[in-house]
Symmetry: C2
């Protein structure tokens, strides 16, 4: 039975995880496919000094990725380098060599996935990118195959494990963001520069890819309103719990009559929703479809083995297709060119909101703030204040009925003119429909 051969470029965590599964699980994979999937070439800049599994002792290895792409027996190139520099060169070269590509590269696919897909289709090769989002959750497969007959109307995700870990630690232990971040860095759960995780940029790339798959539109990270979790205080969880909610960094893409609203931001979600059960470094995606209603997918967001499963499963699917001959392909990035899902600004979103204020103690504060809301036609729902000796430690909260994000922002600007505010108010949407 004729085998299909893989060249792996990049032997970091994901590359090593992929290699371990391909070698340890080779017999099972061959039985599932009906033919063997073999590692034919390995590339890493430090390949000469790397300790690799015995099973690949005789495999061609090189520090030069061009030798893998050009290798006459390599059918599929696995680009596991990451980033938008050399990774882009590798994928372009593989397409030129008419080789199918499997990639785990979220930044690159978020920034120019549509363009790369168009070139791949023109060249008649396949491109697979399951590992680029939510490592262990086969969400690409779900959106492209499993529920392809449905029309997605809303997608929510918890797509950054580090942020979710930090938020659930603040929730459980009442520690501050800075304390939890320092501990996460010590344990290796957070990078020394945590910005990509805690400021939402990593999640934004992932949402750009998932929203493109779900809605068939060209979506780039710049279409997505993005706000991180640095301002969340332990007291925000106390208020959220009083309201029957919790707080998560929520990636959302929702279809509205006007277009698609995309955001990555901390939000209140009901404690009763299954999304609220996502603890620690796990990821999850919640999809509402016109026909299939609500489905939910949960698993490890990262890690060599879970992400390796995504890469290997992609390799298997691409290998099957190579053996079957090349079908006509349709880009997952723009399959529904109907114009109804164009991204629109988040300011057009309607939602209930949680507004949190830190103020100097003085009379008339609530009156001043609620007058601004009334002027903007925003209906106040509740005022919450936990007991405290000190207004600085115990901010108070106003929740409001559904209003447009623009009217909320206008109100916040106006409120900020009051000198009793110690810092700008914090506004978070309350996702009541979950």
């Amino acid at each position: 039975m004729q085998e299909v051969n893989v060249g792996i470029i990049g032997l970091g965590n994901v590359g090593l995880g992929t290699l371990a599964i391909l070698t340890e699980n080779a017999e099972q994979i061959a039985l599932k496919l009906g033919f063997p999937l073999r590692v034919k070439a390995l590339c890493s800049r430090s390949i000469a000094t790397r300790k690799l599994p015995d099973a690949v002792a005789d495999v061609f290895r090189t520090p030069d990725w061009r030798q893998v792409v050009a290798h006459p027996e390599v059918d599929i190139v696995a680009e596991l380098v990451g980033g938008t520099g050399v990774a882009r060169e590798i994928i372009d070269a593989a397409i030129q060599h008419h080789k199918s590509v499997v990639t785990a590269n979220k930044e690159l696919m978020a920034l120019c996935g549509a363009e790369i897909w168009d070139r791949a289709i023109t060249a008649g090769i396949n491109l697979a990118m399951e590992a680029s989002v939510a490592g262990g959750i086969p969400i690409h497969s779900v959106l492209r195959e499993g529920i392809s007959g449905d029309r997605v109307t809303t997608l929510y995700g918890i797509l950054n494990g580090t942020s979710n870990y930090i938020l659930t630690e603040i929730e459980k232990h009442g520690a501050s963001f800075d304390q939890v971040l320092a501990e996460a860095q010590r344990l290796g759960y957070a990078e020394s520069d945590p910005s990509a995780d805690v400021d939402g940029y990593d999640a934004r790339s992932k949402l750009a890819i998932l929203a493109a798959l779900a809605f068939g539109e060209k979506i780039t990270p710049s279409d997505i309103y993005t706000e991180g979790i640095r301002r969340i205080l332990p007291v925000d969880f106390e208020y959220a719990h009083q309201l029957g909610h919790t707080i998560r960094l929520i990636c959302s893409a929702r279809q509205t009559p006007a277009g698609l609203i995309l955001s990555v931001r901390p939000a209140l979600i009901p404690q009763s929703t299954i999304l609220a059960g996502v603890q620690g470094a796990y990821n999850a995606v919640w999809v509402r479809g016109k026909y299939g209603e609500d489905t939910f997918y949960y698993g490890r967001g990262a890690g060599p083995a879970p992400t390796g499963v995504a890469v290997v499963s992609d390799l298997m699917r691409v290998a099957r297709e190579i053996r079957a001959g090349s079908p006509e392909r349709v880009s997952p990035f723009a399959h529904e060119r109907l114009g109804e899902y164009k991204p629109i600004p988040v300011t057009l979103q309607h939602s209930a909101y949680y507004l949190r204020f830190r103020v100097e103690d003085r009379p008339g504060i609530i009156a001043a703030l609620s007058r601004v809301l009334a002027d903007k036609q925003i209906s106040l729902e509740a005022v919450l204040q936990l007991p405290s000796d000190n207004y600085r430690d115990r901010p108070f909260v106003i929740t409001v009925e559904p209003a447009s994000e623009q009217s909320i922002r206008d109100a916040l600007v106006e409120m900020s003119a009051n000198d009793f505010l110690i810092e700008p108010p914090l506004a978070m949407p309350m996702e009541k429909s979950l």
Copy 2:
């Protein structure tokens, strides 16, 4: 662009749901596929009097399924009749005509899926059965494609929506099984003969299919130990909550060094597990893989539109393959013929257990029961008794540390010789690893 044509046989709930999606969503489907997917023939015994969507006004319709299977322009036959009689004839005839088949038929695929798949592969046609298990959850696609690179070690499912609805109603309202069942029947959530749902047979068929996909073994319903939910009392939920658990009808398939242990039975699961968040008529599947660790999938288990999404997504996948030429196929029912996953009896399972007793009040009961456990080398963990005026209303509970199911069963037989027992003890495993 050349279209692919579908013949639909069976226009019950699932057939009508499928037809609605295929017609309403036709433009999106064509954009996703790159070619149109057309309904070419419709069959129902009562077709002459059926009110069907205007979009299929000109479509060939017949009460004779043979005319659909033999129709020269039909490429894919959707068997949506159900049952193991005429449905089997339809699928056999379609295979003989070299037409690919999409089916929603759990009973048939659970009973003879492996055999039907072998014939389909020999004939070079494709068979798809996403809709046969957990309607709205694309779990077939996940197991066959999304995580195909992994090796599943354990699979848990909540696969019967009616049972889950009844259990969560007992839990929420403290009503008896009979009361909740009667209400569910009144609301149309349960059949007038509820046995398939509440005695576990429906879930058993679904588990047979999922375990076959996950472990690549031939598994039939008779390999699966099955016990329904009729004996669960409201007080069992009170005890379970005291123990930090809840109760669900759990389908499980787990790999052990000796083989595969399969069961459908009520079990205690920790309230902190995401599986415990599955409320009402929802379904869920939880998979542990050697590499990908834990993943979890959740959605509607039934309903015309969610099941219709499964059928339509299968039709799209099969249509893509038809356009691409026929790849070599590997049966999902026996792809890993390595012999390590053979089903073994549930009596070999090791687990912690919850044992619930209803007794006449008299001294020495705990002593008598705990002596039996000690004789069998079973370690008692806790004795729980909620306050009550009446032992009949307030049974008591013993939990035991992990022991073999066989030793528990032997102990229960011995205990049952005591005439202070009002009814045989109820035993449920406690799934602490979730």
